[in-house]
């Protein structure tokens, strides 16, 4: 008899639900997503889960394993089996549930549409040096798994979705603001609409980021500084504006 592992998987929808146990044969190197697939194929064909690439490139299979926001395709089962702890798989808490492990993340896409796009200051091809784009490329590693949005307490505990765009979009705004060829000015937007002031720098977003993007240190804090410069230090603010529009 093959070794098995019991997964407690949340089954339910907006009307409620509960964790149900499923016994899954353990295979070497198995990740939680493999186990969920096995459950779908053999025990519960209607078990809802999102996934696309199963290689940590797409950011679809976000959920919470034993309370921690993670990608199911990157979470090994043996780390729990070894320690003899039960495995609990639940949907992301910050977003409204659709069914089982699938949540309604459409709010993120509505936020995405509000962000003023890249405005090139000259036609491509650009002359850009690697050292000038390293930081922008860090933010563009984002796989939009929304685990940072899930863990952010401004969104998770305080439900301030109306006032704060969340870490994912702070990184997006930072990437635009720091793009050497961008002619846009989003500082007012970052303060007023995107609500950068709501972040109180707990670093949780960076901790759960599967791409190891330093969201707080490299994106949010610099954005806060730009806002501070603009609104509370008019001389430096003017200087910065001048720099930004200089040829």
């Amino acid at each position: 008899m093959a070794e098995t592992v019991t997964l407690w998987v949340y089954r339910g929808d907006q009307h409620g639900g509960e964790e149900k146990p499923y016994e899954v044969p353990l295979m070497p190197g198995m990740v939680v997503l493999d186990a969920v697939h096995w459950i779908q194929a053999h025990l519960a064909p209607d078990l809802a889960v999102r996934w696309n690439c199963k290689a940590a490139h797409c950011g679809s299979c976000s959920a919470e394993v034993n309370g921690r926001p993670r990608l199911l395709c990157k979470t090994r089962l043996d780390e729990f089996v070894k320690e003899g702890v039960p495995v609990h798989v639940r949907p992301m808490k910050t977003f409204p549930i659709i069914k089982d492990l699938v949540t309604d993340v459409s709010w993120n896409y509505r936020v995405m549409r509000q962000i003023p796009p890249f405005q090139p200051r000259e036609p491509a091809p650009f002359t850009l040096y690697q050292r000038d784009v390293d930081r922008v490329q860090e933010f563009r590693r984002c796989i939009e798994c929304f685990l940072c949005q899930d863990v952010c307490h401004v969104l998770r505990e305080h439900h301030e979705q109306e006032h704060y765009f969340g870490p994912r979009f702070m990184a997006r705004l930072a990437e635009l603001e720091m793009h050497p060829m961008d002619a846009g000015d989003r500082v007012g937007f970052i303060r007023e609409t995107a609500g950068v002031g709501w972040c109180n720098i707990t670093h949780c977003c960076a901790e759960v980021c599967p791409e190891a993007i330093e969201i707080t240190n490299n994106a949010i804090i610099p954005l806060k500084e730009r806002v501070a410069d603009r609104y509370w230090d008019p001389i430096r603010g003017l200087f910065r504006r001048f720099q930004k529009t200089a040829p």
Binding site: P28, P45, A48, N52, K54, S60, D100, F126, R140, R141
Partner: protein, 591 residues
């Protein structure tokens, strides 16, 4: 009157990968009312997994590169059954499409003098692939996504399309779809459809393909009379992960061999020296894939049926700097430290060169109002796709499909009507799996299909094996008639799998029929009973149609290159390479 959600557009794009998004940007930019339908969330399509880069002959590093050389390389790698006109358009337009991405916010790796960096890749004569580390596909899809949301395009995420409707004149009239979140139906009335639903690698196992790649668009089009071409051409990437089982098929980038990785069999022999003494590990994908396959078949495979790939001799510093993604991937998922130990690799299904036969300039299928771009379409890659040519394909032909669909809509004399009876039929058909009692499990039918395809229509093929596979496929199709599901309508993956399996079963048979018809070996198609590449087959593409449940296959002549293009092949060496050599000789003479 139908009591379902009904929407109306000029152009509906199915699929939100690179080709679909580029098409939507173009059509809406020109003034069409456009919707994009995707069965996933926006930004998750298989495009996101592309690593290597976008092949475009800027010549930023190698000034002798140019479209003619890219044309030469692509035709040669496709073993000359490509549509030359598509290759010509692609190689001429790719650089412009890449620069367009840059102006929309894409941030490519840079050269020392501040230009877009280009990397070398298998069978490209020059350093040609514009890239961002090993995540170029993500950069491409994110850039298009960020562009499309600023335009007036309606995005229907997690909306699955099941059928195309034509009007009485046989023109595109609409689409049937359902919202995955709550299961409610939606009828899209539309004047034109652009299919950008990718390939169908998931009918095989192992595969590097993501969940989406089930050929839904090609299957829907085939059912309403569109033609498929070169279906026998399925690309195997030589190096997929092998162990543990859950990761089997995940891609191991060609970069490992590019950086000096060596292949060994279980006896410790560096077998590529035997199969291709000149290019060795860096031989073309089809050759390396076949070599690994042969070693395993001869009993010289690794414990889990692959070959050893070893790069430890390069040292930990070098490996972590050049291949950080691979280092992480193996450490995290396989408990293997590739700086200290060798690891197992084996071929994995990667790309489908075949697909919907399209007009080379307009991306139009033979069905009026129906367009196809990207992996769903066929013609650019011939018998073997060159790495880096698929991302460019999405951009060049996505744009062309968007332009052509917009033009078509402008010139449409009357609005095509959807027949309500057909919509009702489709509603019943879509719900049928809930009514079948104790029927077949769609997940297990899918697994059985993967076994059949990998066993009988894999890397190695032969007439008798293909016949056997086809017979087993027919049996499986009969079983699949009775696929059943239970549970609710809302977000029910079992139900969803039924339609994907139906798409794959339809296309699987076309692969068998194409493979039986092509009695030769060419590119990715290897017949052990016909091991030679034969000139007479180099002049034809096999085209398939589907009528009343029957497949019809016919040879169509490969379009002949005009003299000015044919001339590029006269010297037997790529034009840019020739110029580089002449310049080199010139320099030596003047010394």
């Amino acid at each position: 009157m139908l009591d379902i959600e009904t929407r109306e557009y000029d152009v509906v794009v199915v699929g939100a990968g690179g080709a679909g998004l580029r098409a939507a940007i173009e059509a809406s930019g020109r003034g069409s009312r456009v919707a994009v339908l995707t069965k996933s969330l926006l930004g998750k399509a298989h495009t996101v997994m592309a690593e290597g880069g976008i092949a475009a002959s800027f010549g930023n590093l190698d000034p002798y590169d140019g479209w003619e050389t890219h044309f030469y390389d692509t035709m040669k790698s496709g073993h000359f059954i490509n549509n030359y006109r598509m290759v010509e358009l692609y190689t001429k337009e790719a650089p412009e499409r890449v620069l367009e991405l840059e102006s929309w916010g894409a941030v490519f790796d840079r050269t020392e003098d501040g230009k877009i960096m280009q990397r070398p890749f298998g069978a490209h004569s020059f350093r040609r692939l514009a890239h961002v580390g090993d995540r170029t596909g993500k950069e491409l899809i994110r850039t298009l996504q960020q562009k499309v949301v600023t335009q007036n395009v309606d995005i229907f995420a997690e909306v699955t399309t099941t059928r195309i409707f034509l009007d009485r004149q046989g023109r595109v009239a609409g689409l049937f779809a359902y919202h995955r979140d709550d299961g409610h139906f939606v009828l899209f009335k539309t004047r034109a459809i652009i299919l950008a639903t990718g390939g169908w690698g998931r009918m095989y196992k192992p595969t590097s393909n993501s969940w989406e790649c089930t050929g839904d668009g090609a299957a829907m089009a085939f059912r309403v009379g569109a033609e498929l071409q070169d279906m026998e051409m399925v690309q195997f990437h030589p190096t997929g992960m092998v162990w543990p089982p859950g990761v089997r098929g995940i891609l191991v980038t060609e970069g490992v061999r590019g950086e000096g990785g060596l292949l060994y069999n279980a006896e410790g022999e560096r077998f590529m020296l035997r199969y291709d003494p000149e290019k060795k590990e860096l031989s073309s994908r089809d050759v390396v894939a076949r070599s690994i396959y042969r070693e395993v078949k001869a009993g010289r495979g690794t414990p889990h049926g692959g070959a050893w790939l070893d790069i430890t001799h390069k040292g930990p510093e070098y490996i972590k700097r050049k291949l950080p993604g691979m280092y992480e991937q193996f450490k995290k998922l396989a408990d293997v430290d590739i700086t200290k130990e060798r690891f197992e690799v084996a071929p994995t299904v990667h790309y489908t060169m075949g697909g919907l036969r399209v007009h080379p300039e307009l991306a139009a299928t033979n069905v009026p109002g129906l367009y196809a771009a990207g992996e769903t379409a066929c013609g650019l890659h011939g018998a073997n796709r060159l790495g880096g040519n698929s991302l460019g394909d999405l951009l060049v032909f996505g744009r062309r499909a968007g332009m052509a669909a917009h033009e078509y809509v402008q010139n449409l004399a009357s609005l095509p009507e959807v027949d309500e009876a057909e919509v009702r039929d489709e509603m019943r058909r879509v719900l049928r799996p809930f009514e079948v009692e104790g029927g077949e499990n769609p997940y297990l039918i899918h697994e059985a299909l993967q076994t059949i395809m990998s066993t009988y229509a894999g890397i190695e093929r032969s007439g008798p094996e293909l016949e056997k596979g086809l017979a087993e496929l027919e049996e499986l199709k009969a079983r699949a008639e009775r696929m059943s599901v239970d549970g609710p309508l809302h977000f029910n993956p079992g139900w969803h799998t039924v339609f994907e399996v139906q798409s794959m079963l339809l296309l699987a048979e076309a692969i068998f029929r194409g493979a039986l018809e092509r009695k030769e070996s060419r590119g990715a198609h290897w017949r052990t009973d016909y091991p030679e590449e034969l000139p007479e087959y180099g002049r034809v593409n096999f085209v398939q149609t589907y009528e009343d449940g029957r497949y019809h296959i016919r040879p169509e002549p490969v379009p002949e290159m005009p003299p000015e293009l044919a001339r590029l092949f006269e010297a037997g060496v790529a034009p840019g390479v020739l110029r580089a050599r002449q310049a080199q000789n010139g320099r030596e003479e003047t010394k």
